[in-house]
Structures are given as C-alpha cells and as structure tokens.
Amino acid sequence: MNASAKKKKWSDYVFWFILPALVVYTAFVIVPTLSSVYLSFTSWDGISTKINYIGFDNFIEIVKSPRVHNALKNTLIFAIVLVLLENIVALGLAVLMDNVRWFRNFFRSIFYFPVLMSGIIMGFIWMIILNYNFGVINQLLEMTGLGFLKADWLGDPDYALISIILSTVWKAAGYYMVIYLAGLQGIPQELNEAASIDGANRWQQFRHITFPLLAGATTVCIMLSMIGSLKIFDQIAVMTDGGPGFATETLTYIIYKVGFGELRQGFGTALAIVLFLLTLLISLIQMKVLRKREVQM
C-alpha cells in the first residue's frame, strides 16, 4: 500500500513535468504535420474557407510535372555533390588541424566562423563576390590575366547551381571538420607509429589506419550533411530566388514558391509530404547503418 501511494505521487509529478513540452510539441509540430497530410489531398489556395478534396491529383501532378522533376533533380545534385565536397573539405581541414603545429585554435576558429553565419548573410556576401561587374572573383581573374574565364556566376544557368553549392561548402565545412577532428583525436598515436616503423608512408597510414577508424565520424557527417542539403533554403532565396529560370529550384524552394508565391497550398503540402518521406528514408537508412556499426564494434 505504501509503495502504491508513493508511485501515485511519482506519476503525478511526471505528468506535470512533461505536460508543457507535450502540449506545445503536439500543437505546433504534430497537428500541423497531420494537417499537411490532409491538405495534400486538397486544392486549397491558402485563403478561401472552402477546401476541396481532390484525391491523389496533387501526387499525380508531382509525378507528371517537369518543373517538379527539375526540382528533384536539383535536390539530388545538391545532395550528392554537396555531401561529397563538404566531407572531403571537412576531412582535409580536420587532418590539417590535427597536424598543424602553430596557432591550432586560431585556425580552427577561422574555419568554424562561416558556420555561425545565417544563410541570408552568407548568400549576400557571396552574391557580391560573384557579381559579374563588380565582384571580387571576376576582378581577380582580370588582374591575373585570366579574364577570359570571367562568367556571370549566378546569372548563367550553367554556373548558378554550382556557385551556390561551392559557397555552401564554404559555409558548412567547418561544422563537419569539428566532428572529424574529434574522431581523429580519438585515434591512438601508437597505431600510426607502429605502421611507420613497418615502412608505411603517410598516405598508406591514412588510407589503411586513420580513415577506417574514422568510420563513425564519417557516417555521422555524411548523414547530417545529406539531411542538411535537403533543407537548404536561405542562400537560394537571396542569391537566385530559384532562377535563372528554374535552374536552382530545389524541393524545399519549390514548396515555398508554390505555396506562397502561387497560392497553391494544397499542392505545396503534397510536395512537403514528398520531402518528409525523403527525410524519413534517409533517417531510417542512417539508423540501420549506425546500428550495424555498433554490432560490429
């Protein structure tokens, strides 16, 4: 009897402690997510009080629309190129940070600074740097006699996407560098020393000892950067607004454009569901891979 009385008191406090978080989370994350599922089967414009149920029409349009295909293609390019470049640059920086003898903390801060920046500010700075007439890049090319390489980096559909990708690498690499660096510092020094006595050169040491032992950090960074690449929005908004044409329109950007620019919020939520399924898929793969690694260890 005493035990049950105590238990009652405990569960009382548990309820009150969890309640505020539970209420706001349910009201402002779960309820709108479920409404998104509902609205994706309607042709709602975002204003009128009448909401028409149209079945799977929105999803059929997604399958058929070339503009959506283009956005999905851009999202895929973003995901693959960005993930590769971000991780290569971040790993390179982390190896440098692990080996550099002087001013290590200072350098680490420098590489980390861009992470602190909002995508809007980063986008604006790069927009000016890449500007055709007054930009730093073209000015430098001219000064070094490479003027023939000058390009309208954001206005030319051939270069716009890659310009956004490269400036995003600049912004995000420092974040993954910190994770790789933590992984590198967890590798015992003796392993490399032993290998070097056995005659392995630096590259062989990196290839056969360091890199395999970084597997945990690599998995985390690849998954994080992939989910991050799906969410990219701010720099596109300020640098190209999805243009020129639809050259830099991604899935997150088309949701915003369709939902608020063209007032087709039913269609926008249907695209949002596609984004959700994509994120879910990546998260599930991530969990599976991580768990597999744990078992191996």
Binding site: Y13, V24, I30, S109, W170, A237, F260, G268
Partner: protein
C-alpha cells in the same frame, strides 16, 4: 630526420594558412565593405577602405526599421531560450527518471519530431497561427521555436541525465523535499554544460532564422534583422554599403559570443552529431 619533420611542419602550416585566408576572406570582405562608401565598393571591391565611412550605419539606424528589427531579434532569441530552459529539462528529467511504458512512448513521440523538416508542416502551421490569433505577434514564433526544439532538446538532456547519480535526489526526497524543489535546486544546477550547449546552438539558430519570421511577423512593421536584410537586398539593391553595415551588425554579436563561449559551441556540435 629532425630537419625532415621541420620541413613537413612548415608545409602543413603554409597550406593551412592559405586555406585560412580563403575561408576568412568573405567575412573580412564583409566587415571591410561596411566601412566603405557605395562608390568605393563598386569602383574597387578588393581595396581597403579610405577612412572610416560611417554614413551607412547612421542611415541604417536612423532612416530604416533596423533598430526595431534588432530589438525583435533579441526578444525572440532571449524569450524562446528562456522558455526552452524552463520546459525541456523538466520533461527530460521526468522521462529519464521514470522508465515506464508511458514515458518511453512519449520519448519516442518527441524524437519523431527531429525527423520532420520545418517545410513539411509550415503551410498548415501558418493557417493554425492565424486561427488562434497568434499570426503577426512575437508569441507565435516563440512558440514555434520552442516546439521545434523539443525533440532534440529532450534527447540531449536525457542522455546527459543518465550520467548523474540518483542518490542525492533520493536522500533529498526522504528529507521531505518536493519533486519540483529537488529538480530546480539539486538537479538543474548539475545540468550547466548541457544547458549551455543548448542555449548556444538554439540561440544561433533563432538569431539566424529567416523563413518562419518572414512569413509569420506582421507586414509593414519591422521583422527580424535577417528578414529586414533580405528585404534590403531587394529594395536597396544599389546601396550595398548599407547592407554590409547591416550584416556586420548582425554578425558581430555572434562572433563575440563564439569567442567567449567557444567550448560550448564545439560541444554543441558534437552533441548535435549524435542527434542525426
């Protein structure tokens, strides 16, 4: 052998230095351009400023809505974080210290939120905020920030709480302390490091956020610094000096906070890495 190592060190240092210059350049360029007049920027983007040109700051602070926007950014960041600190550790504590079918279920339910990108639910969210009359207020975004941080926050705090022994709490309970008292007086002070990481991580995210405040805050009034800057890029497309002054004013507090709290930024990143 020794000389060989030295040469290697110098090469590594030189490569790092070159990369550091490339990485630092855009930020340096931004702050430098804030002190140049528009003509100077257009004439020669790379050149150093001729003097301390402060007109763009003056214009921004007197002729635009930027001061109000600065206030809004600060209010949103500070208030959201204050409520997060009130709400999230408590929920995490109750979940971690009482492992039952219910609390485990709620934990999973919270974690699910980490897998939902904001764009997935933003359209109905705005409609919902309109319905309950929070559209166009500062309370709306604050609630959205808090609810969006619960999944990650609860995960962060529960994993930290696992490392804190329960004995002290049990003896305090025998002494007749209430649960609320035990939590705030005994447990919460022990959560310092993880609280600092959350404050830094979420604070940065809110300070830099763009899409949500742009959509939710009332039109015709000042929004947040980042949103105003976005508008200025369109409106004052020929006044780059002014925009550079604005970005500098948004960036400098963040850089100062980073230099002062570096430890927690780095810790926050590695804890963010677990989140996945």
């Amino acid at each position: 052998m020794k000389k060989d190592i030295k040469l290697n060190d110098i090469i590594i240092f030189a490569v790092t230095l070159i990369l550091a210059v490339i990485f630092a350049f855009p930020i340096f360029f931004n702050i430098m351009s804030a002190f140049k007049s528009n003509g100077e920027i257009m004439r020669d983007a790379i050149a150093f400023p001729k003097g301390f040109y402060l007109e763009s700051f003056k214009y921004l602070l007197t002729e635009t809505k930027y001061p109000e926007a600065m206030l809004n950014s600060t209010i949103l960041t500070v208030c959201s974080i204050a409520v997060m600190i009130l709400v999230i550790p408590m929920a995490a504590y109750a979940i971690e210290r009482n492992s039952s079918k219910w609390t485990n279920g709620i934990f999973t339910y919270f974690l699910f939120g980490m897998m939902i990108p904001f764009q997935v639910y933003m359209i109905p969210l705005f409609k919902q905020l309109k319905m309950i009359g929070l559209f166009g207020t500062l309370t709306g975004p604050i609630l959205v920030y808090i609810s969006g941080s619960i999944g990650f926050g609860v995960l962060l705090f529960t994993s930290f709480l696992k490392g804190i022994p329960r004995e002290i709490e049990e003896s305090a309970e025998i002494d007749g302390c209430t649960r609320t008292g035990i939590f705030w007086k005994i447990v919460f002070p022990l959560l310092g490091p993880v609280t600092a990481s959350m404050v830094v991580l979420q604070g940065l995210g809110i300070w830099n956020d763009f899409l949500m405040p742009m959509m939710v805050l009332p039109t015709g009034q000042a929004k947040t610094m980042i949103v105003e800057l976005f508008y200025y890029v369109g409106e004052f497309s020929s006044r780059w000096d002014m925009i550079f002054a604005g970005t500098t004013m948004s960036l400098v507090p963040v850089l100062i906070a980073f230099l002062a709290l570096q430890k927690y930024f780095v810790k926050g990143v590695s804890s963010g890495a677990i989140k996945g």
